[in-house]
């Protein structure tokens, strides 16, 4: 089934559908079933007497909808797995049963109109949502098969493994050097040599070394916006995380600074050069062209649901659902 409607108030929708598979099965086998089902190119609402209902309409009505995940995603080795993940801000639900696998050492983009939950989902990977009052989650997100939401998991530890770059560059009011080595400092590192080596490595990886090497002791606040954002990337990777989350990292930058960051994201995923580190990058963006340029995989979200998820080229050129096509071509959202 491509789109499955939960048995719910609107029974007309669910009548002709098989029962919902468990979320795990949806991820592992969703594609195979989609292939088996006759007429899988359309929606699952085949019966003539039912009104033809688009996925987005179903979502707007509050139906439970399982997103369509392309088979190619499952062929990659997944570093992170989201299983039946729900998130509530107080009484309102921001994420509805998200199921997705994030491939290792690839760039995955989250796109969708404002309020679709892509930033909320991003912040679920390093549990930054914990800091918001009244947030409650259900389901699991696993990093190397370890559930991030287990009781035993310390969010402080987790955030060392899952770094984050914010929408607005937020260098601390310190020197450039101290900004970069901040993650080492808080981990208790004091040896000057270690700090200097780490700073140089991180600044080189973020393509900032040449610009910054002669002014390491100057305040980071004196840098341009694009430099500040690359400094924030350097700071995030100085902790040597496995995953890098980026929340619209270029939306406050001019086109040239944006281009530099995009190049950087491309390099960091290590697709071209395995020695370059190889981070698993998750990026939220409002800019469709940016998603197309920097990412290997793209997930389209709408009102807290995953709608379609697959290789970026497929999502943009040959999406499975007409809704996705409409969104990526700018016809709504």
């Amino acid at each position: 089934m491509v789109v499955q409607a939960m048995p719910g108030r609107d029974c007309a929708l669910s009548m002709n559908h098989p029962p919902i598979p468990s979320p795990d099965a949806a991820i592992a086998g969703g594609e195979a079933r989609a292939g088996d089902a006759p007429g899988a190119t359309g929606f699952g609402f085949g019966a003539a007497r039912q009104p033809k209902l688009s996925v987005l309409e179903a979502i707007r009505r509050g139906e439970s909808v399982q997103g369509h995940t392309h088979a190619a995603v499952e062929k990659e080795a997944a570093l992170l797995r989201v299983r039946d993940f729900k998130l509530f801000y107080g009484k309102s639900q921001a994420l509805h049963s998200i199921n997705m696998a994030i491939p290792e050492k690839r760039v995955t983009a989250l796109i969708g109109p404002s309020g679709c939950g892509k930033s909320t989902l991003l912040r679920s990977f390093n549990r930054m949502n914990d800091l918001v009052d009244g947030v409650r989650t259900e389901g699991t997100i696993t990093l190397r098969e370890r559930n991030l939401y287990d009781r035993g998991v310390d969010p402080i530890d987790l955030r060392r493994k899952v770094g984050m770059v914010f929408q607005k560059p937020n260098p601390f009011p310190m020197s450039i050097f101290e900004n970069v080595v901040y993650p080492l400092r808080i981990a208790g590192e004091r040896k000057r040599g270690v700090l200097e080596a780490a700073a140089e490595k991180a600044l080189r990886s973020s393509a900032l070394w040449e610009e910054a090497k002669d002014r390491l002791s100057e305040s980071a606040l004196g840098m341009s916006g694009g430099q500040q954002q690359r400094l924030c990337i350097a700071r995030a990777i100085a902790a040597e995380p496995e995953v890098l989350l980026m929340d619209e990292p270029c939306s406050a930058l001019d086109p040239i600074a944006t281009m530099k960051i995009e190049e950087l994201i491309h390099q960091m995923s290590g697709r071209d050069d395995q020695s370059a580190g190889g981070y698993t990058v998750l990026i939220v963006t409002h800019n469709m062209h940016q998603a197309a340029r920097v990412s290997d995989y793209t997930a389209f979200m709408y009102l807290g649901r995953l709608v379609e998820y697959g290789p970026t080229a497929n999502i943009f050129q040959n999406p499975h659902l007409p809704e996705t096509e409409q969104y990526v071509t700018g016809r709504f959202g």
Binding site: L131, K168, F172, P173, S175, P183, I186, C232, A236
Partner: protein, 299 residues
């Protein structure tokens, strides 16, 4: 301007007169602000000038080397009172500044957005305490430490002063920490820092200048207090380092001298006020330099 001018030229006379009225109001506002600023500056210079005129004649080396004699013919100096005030500031600061700072940190960083019962109660009590006449804290010090010990003493004076400091420091600390952008906190936490690391390494250093200002305001306020000391430290004509004894202070000594009948003592009293202001100035500048160094060495 040109657009407005054009429409009002071509438009009705009503529009033009309304525009003129707005201009008059605008310049009226400007001149009212200017006049008030001038009044403030004039007042400031009057006070400062008055103090200098009255105080300078009494300034002498003996002021800093001699204690009070009690003899109106040769009143001696203010060494005992200067030492007393410095000790009182230090003692009250040791208690009041950390408590105030940490309470302010709680209000700004740990209470849920400043809501929650403890935070609201603390803020309310602080505001009330800050508005309580200082003589009331003097009476409290009297009841808590003077009555049990059986005589006036420096501890009671320092405690009364600390009581005055805590709400001032707590509230300014809270306000100043709130001005630090949340993006710093989020950035630090996202890098795997704990809350205390975030506060000590990012939030507090970003606000150091204003935190020092808050602390210095509280110290200046306390250093100039006389009323709470009347009930607690009382005063002492002799130099003492023992806070369990009645304790001297500049303000109390100045009060005694200036309200007394002898011209010679009045002169010393006026000089004492200048000395107090100088002490606060030196303290302020040196604390600022030390704080700036401390921040620079860590960042």
């Amino acid at each position: 301007m040109s657009v407005i001018g054009a429409t009002s030229l071509s438009g009705k006379r009503g529009g033009e007169s309304r525009f003129a009225l707005r201009r008059i109001r605008s310049s009226g506002m400007f001149w009212a602000c200017c006049a008030s600023t001038m009044a403030v500056i004039t007042l400031l210079f009057l006070v400062a000038g008055y103090l200098f005129v009255l105080g300078l004649p009494g300034i002498s080396w003996a002021l800093f080397t001699q204690d009070a004699t009690g003899d109106p013919e040769a009143p001696g100096g203010l060494r005992h009172a200067i030492v007393g005030t410095l000790v009182l500031i230090a003692l009250s600061g040791v208690v009041g500044v950390p408590v105030g700072l940490l309470a302010g940190v709680y209000l700004s960083e740990y209470s849920r957005e400043g809501r929650g019962v403890p935070a609201r109660a603390t803020r309310f009590v602080s505001d009330v305490l800050a508005g309580v006449p200082s003589i009331v804290t003097g009476i409290l010090g009297y009841e808590l430490l003077v009555v049990p010990m059986g005589h006036y003493n420096g501890w009671a004076g320092a405690l009364a002063l600390a009581f005055i400091m805590v709400p001032i420091v707590a509230r300014t600390t809270e306000e100043m920490l709130r001005l630090v952008p949340d993006s710093f906190r989020a950035g630090s936490l996202a890098l795997g820092a704990t809350r205390s690391q975030t506060i000590l390494r990012v939030v507090a250093p970003a606000a150091t200048g204003s935190l020092v200002t808050g602390v210095m305001l509280a110290i200046a306020r306390v250093a100039g207090e006389t009323a709470p000391l009347l009930f607690t430290a009382l005063g002492n004509r002799a130099l003492t380092w023992d806070p369990s004894q009645p304790f001297p202070s500049l303000t109390k000594q100045v009060f005694d001298y200036v309200t007394g009948p002898y011209e010679s003592q009045k002169r010393v009293g006026w000089a004492g006020i200048l000395v107090l202001i100088a002490i606060l100035l030196v303290l302020n500048v040196s604390v600022r330099i030390v704080a700036a160094r401390a921040v620079r060495s860590r960042t």
